[in-house]
Amino acid sequence: MATAVRAMTDNAWARFAARRLLRLLLSIWVLLTAAFLMIHLIPGDPVRAALGVTAPAELVNARREQLGLNDPLWTQYGHYLADLFSGRLGVSTISGLPVSQVIADRYPATLELAVYAFLVAVALSVPLGLTMAVLTRTGRRRRLELGFTSTSVFLGTVPEFLVGAFLVYVFGVRLGLAPIAGWAGPDSYVLPVLALAIGPAAVLARITRVETLAVLEADFIRTARAKRLPDRRLYLRHALPNSLTATVTVAGLLLGGLVAATVLVENVFAWPGLGSTIVSSILAKDYPVVQAIVLVYGLGVLLVNLVVDVGLALLDPRSTIRES
């Protein structure tokens, strides 16, 4: 019987892994194809558009030939996939640099920004949400609850680049406390990271609070209270893990959004990452760079989603088994 139960559990995990892997591969394929189509759906001739109307026809044609744009679509698609898998991302039409080098130069700044912002958001929101839930449970402290809810709704609505602009105004211009642009020393991180983190932190804190409130009503919390455990243990060991499931789901969604929001925040703070690069590349019609950056962002989002799903499965083993 023991082995039977073990085998069933293992099986559920294997099924979960297989299903999740299949979805990841499918999503990656869709992403690759969409990035390919994105360039080929552009109305008109992208090379002509990039080189300008005054460029001689031979130059345009030579460039088209060089990029393989004169081949049939299927052949181009095949070349595109083959190039991707061998790491050849093409050459920037503006700077002439290999795209892979542009990406390698730019992605660390963006990754740092996103990771720090996410960590700050979680570190702020989970304790805050938990504390708020404990303080306002069963309808006590209504004024505190109202203040918290309205503040968090407000902060959750304001877009990141506006938060960034406001922070620059207050801390950079008015108080002169923090540098407002560029990527230098540790204090240059403060404002961009905060600008990215505040909105998601507000949303997460609200969700943590609501989930924790629901958990605090649960029968097993009464059981834990009947055991006369210290409050710290009651809230951290019994309530928190159960309220984290929804929080992690939402955190994952927010992290995906946060990755994308770096685009705006980087532009506010002149942060030398992928986000400022993609905007200038779109404006300059530097399509190979745009395509590669979209791929990097997309893969990042897919990776985040995978981590979230695995994390959820570990947190709440029932969901994995039930689903398969």
């Binding site: 309808g139 506006l162 602009a165 006369r228 243990r233 989603n305």
Partner: protein
């Protein structure tokens, strides 16, 4: 919209109307002022009486430019939302429109697209559609479409199986017509709510794209472009960025909050608790001298919530090793009595008692460390629903071990060994393996055994079991009752067994307390229950139990009338409205519990109504 009658909804609606009015009125009223270059001497001026928010690089008034920009900003956001909603609707309803097979493909594609953040989609679409206002509308519209398609798909799936859809299909109604006539009206409300919130989102997204230079292009201007220009001169002239920024936030909030308010109006609103008036606890009375073998002494126990007092003066004692049953209909206050004894009533609930002692310890004065320890080791609780009473994220063994670690200072290893030993004591098969499992791997009966085992981690003096067998089937019920008796015999712990089922109590307990409307109405030995019960309510309870001699052709006996409403208990005896013996005295004065029964006519009610009448 009649659903906006909350402060939140009201504020949101006023904001929204203001934004829309500005969008309509501002361009004709102030369009010229906004376009007019005041004069070249007034470039990048700060706020002044003539220019409230100063002037921009060409000497134009920023305040009026922000007002005039409302129209384009709102219009583009609404266009993008409309496009997104329509596309999402068609994609989401694909299973209905183009058949199940293609529909499944579309749904799969939507599910993949939803995983990518809207801004990333919008940027990719902006590449395809080109830089500019039209491109941005298409980009944002298509970017919000997947989320909408998913929502529509879920909603359509719930409606598509209904009978009237099937009927329409059989009647040969076209697919598009079914969607428009039969499906959409039934899923309209949530769609409108989400479209409103999405409009707020696209407004903010548009500001973002225009700020990046990918949206509206000069000479046209929306808030995003004004913001971008303002940010360039933030040092010299902060208002140029802060004013359009404020406008964006305000309009975004107006749309979002309106959506939220309507959503809240559609869903069930949670009943607001009325303000809790804290009652000052009454001065403690000197406790009676009592013999040492009383485990639990309760006198004048009241449990109240704002507006209701479901437990109204309960008094009883439980002696060492004694088994006492508490019976009554749901709402009689029996579970609250147990929770009050166990100190588990939380705010806004209030517990008052003239006396509340467990093992000689007065429980009425806040939980001291020693008291928590006493309750944690000597009072065992068994709750009604074993499926929900264990923490789903922790292994059973660890949950049992917890109190031993907290109160008895056992190491992790030793506490766990003790847990395994206790699981064996409650006759759980394979306790070592079971201790490593999660609650969802246990059956209901096994969980209830484990719960009893948890109570045995310390040295229980009292087991408080609140409907421990109600959620279990009859054979398991019998096993759990046998286990409780067994535990009582081996540990000499007293038992308070709460149940709505008088026969369950009769099997296990020596004494029965019958509760009605928050009071004990009878206190009688189990052996004398069928012969010497004197309260009309107890007699009615007994008569309602079917047994082998019950005439099955006759309807089952029921107690006439409704259980007393805890929020509205009468002045006299609470049972009087349902009692055949009630007279004026009963309706005027509440009878005290004297000689084991609380009834003015305890002596007059002669023979209990026999089985079958």
């Amino acid at each position: 919209m009649p659903r906006l009658r909350t402060p939140l909804g009201g504020t949101a609606a006023v904001l929204l109307v203001a934004v829309l009015a500005t969008a309509v009125l501002a361009p004709p009223l102030w369009g010229e002022k906004a376009a007019a270059a005041a004069d070249t001497a007034n470039i990048l001026q700060g706020a002044s009486a003539a220019h409230w928010a100063g002037t921009d690089g060409l000497g134009r008034d920023i305040f009026f430019r922000v007002l005039v920009a409302t129209r384009l900003s709102v219009l583009l956001a609404l266009l993008a939302t409309g496009l997104g909603v329509l596309t999402g609707l068609l994609l989401g309803a694909a299973p209905l429109l183009v058949g199940a097979r293609v529909g499944r493909l579309v749904t799969a594609a939507v599910n993949i697209a939803v995983a990518f953040p809207g801004l990333l989609l919008a940027l990719s679409f902006a590449v395809v559609f080109g830089v500019g206002g039209t491109g941005a509308v298409l980009a944002i519209g298509f970017a919000i479409a997947p989320a909408f398609a998913r929502l529509t798909g879920t909603l359509v799936a719930t409606v598509a199986e209904r009978d009237y859809i099937a009927a329409a299909r059989i009647a040969g109604v076209g697919r598009l017509r079914i969607l428009v006539r039969h499906v959409l009206p039934n899923i309209g409300e949530p769609l409108v709510v989400n479209a409103t919130v999405a409009a707020g989102g696209s407004l903010l997204a548009f500001a973002g794209l225009s700020y990046l230079g990918l949206g509206v292009q000069a000479p046209a201007y929306d808030w995003g472009r004004l913001l971008g220009e303002g940010l360039n001169s933030l040092y010299m002239h902060p208002l140029a960025a802060l004013v359009p920024g404020g406008a964006v936030v305000l309009a975004g909030l107006a749309l979002n909050l309106t959506g939220e308010a309507v959503a809240r109006g559609i869903g069930q609103t949670t009943p607001l608790f009325t303000a809790v008036r804290r009652r000052r606890p009454e001065a403690p009375l000197p406790s009676n001298q009592d013999s040492a073998d009383v485990v639990l002494a309760v006198e004048g126990l009241h449990v109240s919530f704002p507006g209701v007092t479901p437990v109204r003066g309960v008094s009883f004692t439980v002696r060492r090793g004694e088994a006492v049953g508490v019976v009554g209909e749901s709402g009689s206050g029996k579970s609250l009595t147990a929770l009050a004894i166990a100190q588990l009533i939380e705010e806004p609930g209030q517990v008052r008692a003239e006396r509340l002692e467990f093992a000689g310890e007065d429980l009425r004065h806040g939980p001291s460390r020693a008291q928590r320890r006493l309750l944690g080791t000597s009072l065992a609780m068994v709750f009604q629903d074993p499926m929900t009473s264990f923490n789903p994220t922790q292994r059973i063994g660890r949950q049992l071990a917890e109190p031993a670690r907290a109160h008895q200072g056992l190491s992790r290893r030793r506490a766990f060994d003790r847990a395994v030993d206790r699981l064996r004591a409650v006759r759980l098969p394979a306790p070592e393996r079971r201790a490593h499992q999660f609650p969802h791997e246990f059956s209901g009966g096994m969980r209830q055994r484990a719960m009893i085992g948890m109570g045995l981690m310390g040295t229980p003096m009292l087991i408080l079991a609140d409907e421990p067998t109600t959620a279990l089937d009859v054979t398991v019920q019998r096993q759990v009752l046998a286990l409780l008796e067994d535990v009582r015999a081996t540990t000499a712990a007293a038992l308070v067994l709460i149940s709505h089922d008088i026969t369950v109590v009769g099997q296990v307990c020596e004494r029965v307390l019958v509760m009605y409307a928050g009071r004990i109405v009878e206190d009688v030995a189990t052996a004398e229950l069928s012969t010497a019960a004197r309260h009309p309510y107890t007699q009615a309870l007994l008569a309602a139990v079917p047994h082998l001699g019950t005439d099955r052709d006759r309807p089952l006996t029921v107690i006439p009338g409704r259980p007393a409403d805890p929020g509205d208990t009468p002045v006299g005896c609470a049972f009087a409205p349902r009692c055949a013996y009630a007279d004026d005295l009963c309706r005027r004065a509440d009878p005290p519990l004297e000689g084991g029964v609380a009834c003015w006519h305890a002596d007059r009610t002669v023979a209990p109504p026999g089985p079958g009448g």
